[in-house]
């Protein structure tokens, strides 16, 4: 902590720059790091400083914390994915018995047929895990932690201790969320948006009892984790950049993580407020969200509240949240695409401007989730306006990615494939935003499968692909090894086909009027013609899920046995590739390198190599040309 106020912009004084560690440990780690530079083979020496506990569990090292987030996120993602397969089976073959379900789900699948209450529980927990635990905690937690210190030239996060707390709050909230699935009355089941009164009243559904309480506790811990993480990221990026690393030399990853963290700090407290008021209504008899309710044969005392208030509070977080999910993925994509196209990212400043534009606009569009709640129609018009405006910076980003590929020398690493896949999803899912953002069209499409298709493509698939791109690309940085590329190719194409196969057809369901969160569509003869879409979708979902086995295998195999990586396997410009392959505390064995140029000098004319490390001083000629 002491280092936060000390002068960190001068790497010469780098003893001060080991933040969050005790002063004597500073010197110690520093000396140790120096030793590294001299001798090479002293892993055992390394080991006896760190016990297993401080190295793998209560670690304050950002690289290890990043791995902890990643492992947790992968675990949670597998669970959430398996849940989606279970409810997809029900949607494709409603009422059919799948004997395998009974031993797993017990009373929730009597005779192998999923129970309607538990269907909603699965959908809710699936959505919650995917959005918060995988794509917020997992994505930011992994890559902000790994890359911020490494790419800005810092020895660690501003506060290693808060960083450690951030992970353990995340771990605790994950455990509680998973535990809630196993309780007698079932987990929260009111959808990931948990609108009251449904979520407030135990009489309304079994999941609104203890399950909902656990959901709220888990999310509270999650919010704490997210805030600790975000504050740390912001402080680190602002204060701990190495000499020469001006804001306009930062890689776009860091810009994206910075803006994401700011969004999180501004919006999660609002979700916390919403959750707190909900807790009051549930447990202490207040009436923030409740009024005029008659349920379970009883008129309730609550008076004067409005569920619409909750919706406003929730979506004030909820909409920025989709960008909290998406921006880091876009940042990763910028980096991966530029590196592997061997070209500068096109329109660096426009990319920063569009990140800022998207972030700003994301705070004034929440009403597009509420067009048909009875909100004042004029207010609806304002939200239409702001919502459609977001399309402009988004379009700029998409066009800039495409232009970055133009006349490139594209290296199709698995990371690159996923990054290009993201661009495709971002376009396909993004364009339907123009439909849903138009209030007149939303009247008919709100809460239908069209929405499910839209957000799974633009936020779900795109962000997951960003995460995969990041994992493949920075795996060498995390584990000193490279993932197998052939398995990577297979994983990419199968997942890509699977994701489109699952989510594209859902547009048609939605346009035919099929509502989301329906346990089955068989009660309405008008949907009888659509049965085979559901079967098709489920087969693709199974394909996509099975393809993840390739990934999991490749991942764990490569952690232990993968090909050893060279120091800079993708011939990248950024600082993280100037650190040794073996992880050390403090990242650089000697002084922190100074930065002399931006991150995107790929294929610079007059250079022999097609990349120029950020640490390479500018030449006279470059200065004369006004290079930055």
């Amino acid at each position: 902590m002491s280092a936060m106020d000390s002068n960190n912009t001068h790497p010469e004084h780098d003893v001060q720059i080991l933040p969050g560690v005790h002063q004597h440990e500073h010197a110690h780690a520093h000396a140790h790091a120096h030793a590294h530079a001299h001798a090479h083979d002293h892993d055992d020496e390394h080991e006896h400083h760190d016990t297993f506990i401080t190295k793998y569990i209560f670690t304050q090292d950002h690289k290890m914390i990043a791995k902890q987030f990643l492992m947790t996120a992968i675990f949670m993602a597998v669970i959430a994915m398996l849940m989606s397969i279970v409810f997809r089976l029900q949607l494709a073959w409603p009422g059919k018995s799948f004997p395998i379900l009974e031993p797993i789900l017990g009373k929730w699948a009597p005779g192998g047929v999923l129970n309607p209450d538990f269907y909603l529980a699965l959908v809710t927990i699936h959505g919650t895990i995917m959005v918060f635990f995988v794509l917020t905690g997992g994505l930011s937690g992994t890559f902000s932690n790994l890359l911020i210190p490494l790419q800005i030239g810092a020895r660690d996060m501003a506060s290693g201790f808060l960083n450690m707390l951030s992970f353990w709050f995340f771990a605790a909230s994950s455990v509680i969320m998973l535990f809630s699935v196993t309780i007698e009355s079932g987990p929260a089941s009111g959808g990931w948006t948990i609108y009251p009164p449904l979520s407030a009243l135990e009489q309304a559904m079994p999941g609104s009892g203890l399950g909902m309480t656990l959901w709220l506790i888990s999310m509270t811990l999650f919010i704490v984790s997210s805030l600790l993480g975000s504050l740390n990221y912001i402080v680190t990026i602002i204060n701990l950049r190495t000499k020469g690393m001006s804001m306009t030399r930062l890689p776009l990853t860091i810009w994206a993580f910075l803006v994401t963290a700011i969004l999180g700090v501004l919006s999660f407290p609002v979700l916390f407020a919403a959750a707190l008021l909900l807790i009051f209504d549930r447990s202490f008899g207040t009436s923030f969200y409740l009024s005029d309710i008659y349920i379970g044969g009883q008129a309730l005392e609550h008076n004067g509240g409005s569920p619409i208030l909750y919706e406003h509070l929730f979506w004030f977080l909820g909409h920025p949240e989709v960008y909290i999910v998406l921006l880091p993925a876009l940042g990763i994509t910028s980096e991966v695409i530029a590196t592997n196209a061997r070209k500068p990212i096109f329109g660096y400043r426009a990319m920063i401007a569009s990140i800022l534009g998207i972030a700003f606009l994301s705070f004034i569009v929440w009403g597009h989730h509420m067009f048909i709640t009875g909100m004042n129609p004029f207010l609806g018009s304002v939200f239409v306006f702001t919502t459609l405006l977001i399309a402009i910076p988004s379009a700029v980003k998409a066009f800039n990615y495409i232009t970055t590929l133009w006349k490139g020398n594209i290296q199709f690493t698995p990371g690159m494939l996923f990054a290009i896949g993201l661009v495709s999803f971002f376009i396909t899912g993004g364009v339907t935003g123009l439909i849903l953002g138009d209030s007149a069209l939303d009247i008919n499409l709100h809460d239908t499968y069209f929405v499910v298709a839209h957000f799974h493509l633009v936020m779900g698939s795109a962000a997951i692909f960003g995460m995969f791109a990041g994992v493949y690309h920075w795996f060498p940085k995390m584990f000193g090894r490279v993932m197998n590329k052939k398995l990577g190719f297979a994983h990419f194409w199968l997942t890509f086909a699977g994701a489109y196969g699952v989510f594209f057809p859902m547009h048609f369901l939605g346009l035919a009027g099929v509502p989301r969160r329906y346990y089955s569509n068989t009660e309405f003869p008008i949907f009888n013609d659509l049965v085979d879409i559901n079967v098709l979708v489920t087969w693709f979902a199974i394909l996509a899920a099975v393809s993840q086995i390739i990934f999991l295998f490749n991942f764990f195999f490569s952690v232990f046995r993968g090909q050893k990586s060279s120091q800079n396997p993708w011939k990248s410009n950024t600082l993280e590739w100037t650190t040794p392959v073996e992880h050390i505390h403090g990242n650089w064995p000697g002084e922190i390198p100074e930065v002399h140029r931006w991150a995107y000098d790929y294929s610079k004319p007059d250079r022999e190599e097609d990349f120029v490390l950020q640490t390479t001083p500018l030449t006279e000629k470059e200065i004369a040309e006004g290079a930055h």
């Binding site: 209450d117 009111g190 006349k407 199709f412 495709s424 396909t428 489109y500 594209f504 048609f508 295998f553």
Partner: protein, 343 residues
């Protein structure tokens, strides 16, 4: 916490077992020292695969459109419906063009510029002109779209001042009730505290409610006559969704919401058009409300004015229902009394 750690460990162990079982493969992989570098042949292959993907993807989209195109957006049966559909198809045309063009350009880059040793990328970092073009063009197109969209929105939300028939749609877990305002076209007042046996909607003694007509299972509308729906909920949020009429509005406990539209096609006409004598318009619930959310429905019949009057005449008014209830109660009491006397 222990659970999580254990689970992660289990995953590790499983992976370890797999690793052992393919030790042979691993040896082979370790000899292959080029793992991180993508070869020219691989780049070429991947570049080509993108083209294959694009063809397959467009083919898939086209097939879906062919197979399900006629099932989406069933013919609009309300006066404002076609305006919404036109807006939809205009927007769809626009985004389809964008979707196709950008994908073609994207995939073409991947195909054309697949990496090769010795090749060098062009250093092209920015171009104010290009960036201006693709900021301004979307901005202009979007302005048009916003203007068009808001015009439609205003037309739908603020319909003409032709006097509309008032109907209340009342929601609860898990069914709908419709209440017609009767001769005075004014709904009687209600209070959730009076809900009880025989008074599902919580009506209160009020001269305005006496002529109200309460129906379940199905409700009837008149072709060509505007209806103003008022929505209420007694427990959780529901949403009244009538896809054929391009109408939807949430039903929120504690407040009243509204939506107005004019049906334009009778049920009989629609059955004929669809060549399906079983067809019915439906009201669905479209806001998660509990276990039976997926089956909270009511049929809607659109008919001529005459038929509608006939149907209404067959329904009991609230006053009649109450009277009948009192009578039954009285009879019951009497019979209990007799029963007691008998003893």
């Amino acid at each position: 916490m222990t659970f999580l750690i254990l689970a992660v460990i289990v995953l590790f162990v499983l992976a370890g077992i797999r690793v052992m079982s393919i030790a042979a493969l691993s040896a082979e992989l370790r000899n292959n020292r080029k793992d991180d570098i993508i070869t020219d042949a691989e780049n070429r292959n991947q570049g080509n695969l993108w083209v294959v993907f694009l063809i397959a993807f467009f083919g898939f989209c086209a097939w879906q459109l062919y197979a399900y195109g006629d099932k989406i957006l069933p013919e609009a049966a309300s006066a404002h419906g076609p305006a919404i559909d036109n807006l939809f198809y205009t927007t769809l045309a626009l985004i389809t063009v964008v979707f196709i063009l950008t994908h073609i350009v994207l995939v073409f880059q991947a195909y054309k510029h697949a990496g090769k040793t010795g090749k060098r990328a062009t250093y092209f970092a920015h171009s104010n002109k290009l960036e201006l073009i693709w900021t301004v063009i979307p901005a202009v197109v979007l302005t048009g779209l916003i203007a068009y969209g808001l015009t439609v929105w205003n037309d739908v939300i603020y319909p003409g001042d032709k006097q509309a028939t008032v109907i209340e749609l009342y929601s609860k877990q898990f069914d709908w009730t419709a209440r017609y305002a009767g001769k005075d076209n004014t709904l009687g007042r209600s209070d959730f505290r009076t809900i009880g046996e025989g008074n599902d909607l919580g009506l209160i003694e009020d001269s305005k409610s006496d002529d109200d007509i309460i129906v379940k299972g199905e409700f009837h509308l008149v072709k060509g006559e505007p209806v103003q729906f008022k929505f209420r909920s007694r427990d959780v949020i529901h949403s009244a969704y009538m896809p054929h009429f391009r109408a939807q509005m949430n039903c929120v406990p504690g407040m009243e919401t509204m939506f107005e539209f004019t049906p334009t096609i009778t049920t009989a006409e629609m059955r004929e058009k669809l060549n399906n004598p079983e067809f019915n318009y439906v009201l669905l619930c479209n806001k998660i409300c509990g276990a039976a959310h997926y089956n909270m429905q009511m049929d809607i019949i659109v008919e001529s004015k005459e038929d509608n009057l006939k149907w209404l005449a067959e329904q009991k008014t609230w006053a009649q229902t109450k009277a009948a209830a009192t009578q039954t109660a009285a009879t019951n009491q009497e019979s209990t009394a007799t029963a007691t006397l008998d003893k």
